[in-house]
């Protein structure tokens, strides 16, 4: 991963009737990474993407995508950027190949290369001839029109549609919606592979487990502002350093006497017992772990295991929105 920035925004703001939908947004997305853009509905994710694509003008602030300003140089940006909206639209009376050819023509792809590139991207997304060709009679077959495609097939076609121009940056808005588990896995594998082909991906999704699986870094948007940004490890540390940590101690049949003793340790906030586990919420302090282990041993309980629980992406995400 290089550290060159592909997308950078400075105080990017979009207001509708005076209300800020995106508010002084400062994003920094490195080249060839998968960046997860998270946030609840109405957080400003789609508006941010539209501004980065040059489809809507910011009220104030600036953005740079691949070195171009999307407001002033929208065509240069669109040549390098692909966008897959959540509800992707196709010409339903055209076939998959006809739809892709049209997009290839709009991107000025050389006529001689169009058919080859169309076949390439269809293969990449797993839309094989068996899926897109229908039998219309004895020894007769023809390509299905997109209107006859399932939601999952359309979604895969959408990915093919954005890949045909070989984009440097790809904006994917809920790309796995409507896909079955097998389709989701295939698609996530494909997305995970894109940075190796030189494509930076911005993935907007509510599926935190999917974001966790493929994203190198994430940004959490709330009310148009980035409230968290970094790798999941960085966010984990930031979450812990910002407040509490949870220490998990495994022993044998802990009793009330032990929990009372642990509660008396400076920095300990709460202790709960779950069978042989002690779940201890503490302030961030390296000394507290040593004090807890000593207390357990002094009370003649075996210390089988002790760990500082890592926050999952769900915890990081939910923590923020619970706080607000």
């Amino acid at each position: 991963m290089s550290e060159k920035l592909t997308i950078e925004t400075q105080d990017l703001t979009k207001r509708y009737n005076g209300a800020a939908v995106v508010d002084c947004l400062n994003l920094h997305i490195e080249e060839n990474v998968i960046f997860g853009l998270l946030g609840p509905n109405g957080a400003g994710k789609t508006t941010t993407i539209l501004m980065l694509l040059g489809l809507t003008e910011p009220t104030s602030g600036t953005a740079q995508v691949c070195g171009f300003n999307p407001t002033r140089e929208p065509l240069q940006v669109k040549r390098l950027v692909g966008y897959l909206p959540e509800k992707v639209g196709f010409y339903e009376d055209l076939t998959a190949r006809e739809n892709l050819r049209f997009i290839a023509e709009l991107n000025n792809i050389n006529y001689a290369d169009i058919n080859r590139q169309v076949d390439e991207v269809l293969e990449m997304v797993g839309l094989t001839d068996t899926e897109i060709i229908e039998v219309t009679g004895p020894d007769q077959q023809q390509e299905k029109t997109v209107g006859k495609f399932s939601r999952g097939m359309k979604q895969r076609l959408g990915i093919a549609d954005v890949l045909i121009k070989k984009p440097k940056v790809l904006f994917l808005d809920e790309p796995t919606s409507g896909l079955d588990p097998k389709g989701i896995n295939q698609l996530l594998d494909l997305i995970a592979d894109l940075p190796k082909r030189g494509t930076t991906v911005v993935l907007s999704s509510h599926q935190l487990s999917q974001v966790n699986r493929v994203c190198h870094s994430i940004g959490i948007l709330s009310k148009g502002k980035i409230v968290e940004e970094g790798t999941i490890d960085q966010l984990n540390r930031a979450t812990r350093s910002g407040g509490q940590q949870r220490i998990k101690v495994e022993t044998v049949s802990p009793d009330e006497k032990l929990t009372t003793a642990i509660r008396k340790i400076k920095g300990v906030r709460d202790v709960t017992i779950q069978e042989n586990l002690l779940l201890i919420s503490t302030d961030i302090d390296t000394g507290v772990q040593l004090a807890i282990s000593q207390t357990v041993v002094q009370h003649n309980f075996p210390l089988l295991q002790m760990s500082v629980e890592q926050f999952s992406l769900d915890d990081i995400y939910m923590k923020h929105f619970k706080e607000n």
Binding site: L75, P85, I103, N107
Partner: protein
Amino acid sequence: MTAILRKELADYFTSIRFFVFFALVLLASAAGLWAASQGIRSTNLPEGFIFLGLFTTPGVIPLFNSLPVLIALIIPLIGIALGFDAINSERSGGTLSRILAQPVYRDSVINGKFLAGLVTMTIMIGAMILLISGFGLRMIGVPPTAEEILRLFLYLFLSIVYGAFWMGLAILFSVLLRRVASSLLTSLGIWLFFSIFIFMVAPWIASTVVPVTTESPQVELIRYTELQLMIMRFSPNFLFQEATRAVINPMLVGSLGMVSASQRAYLIPNPLSLGQSMLLIWPHLTGLISLSAICFALSYVLFLRQEIRAT
């Protein structure tokens, strides 16, 4: 823009609505020819303008008594059919954001659609004029003169401009209104008003402003007629019908306005030259071109200012 134009043309030429309207055009051509065949031999046509008689000779059915009336009826429908869902169907289908995410200027989309509509309309109206000319030539055996050919080209141009106005209006509503059905109904409503209701409203307004009876002085009657004419000229349909009458009927004497019986008595029944006909229709032509330009410019500006979202 070429890719969009090509796709739009392919869409139009393979759509059911194209075949329906082309069938209507063929029917109109047949009706026009039939009307001409009924009366062209008995009509006293001036020398050098016999061929144009194919387009002006009235038939026996009063409602569709001549080709210009039929064409004035069909062209707005073709224009509306080509434009009413130009933008909003793309928006609701999610294809607009897909196109605009590609390296194309936003105006290429609306320009490509408008141009494709114009080409389709030109083909339809041109085909109709050629069909009537071809079959008519076989029927009457008199070839058109150079002036008649020029007048037919002018007629074609007028028809395209007239159709462009209705298409521009339909595109404007397709930009303004989210639902396809709304833009279609609004366009049809306006067409109905300017094609039928304005001819009922105009005398009513005129008689309210200038009340006349059979005994009213001539000055009042002239005021009443001129006011009525002025109101009707707000209708593109009326403008088109007046202009086509002057173009393909060179025997149209006097002006397109009111001619009194006493004035008519002094008029020499001589065909107008092309230049004189042009002079007569100049305000109509510029009016129709301006109306089309205003509709298209409004659609263009509104479309360029709209925010395009995927949903």
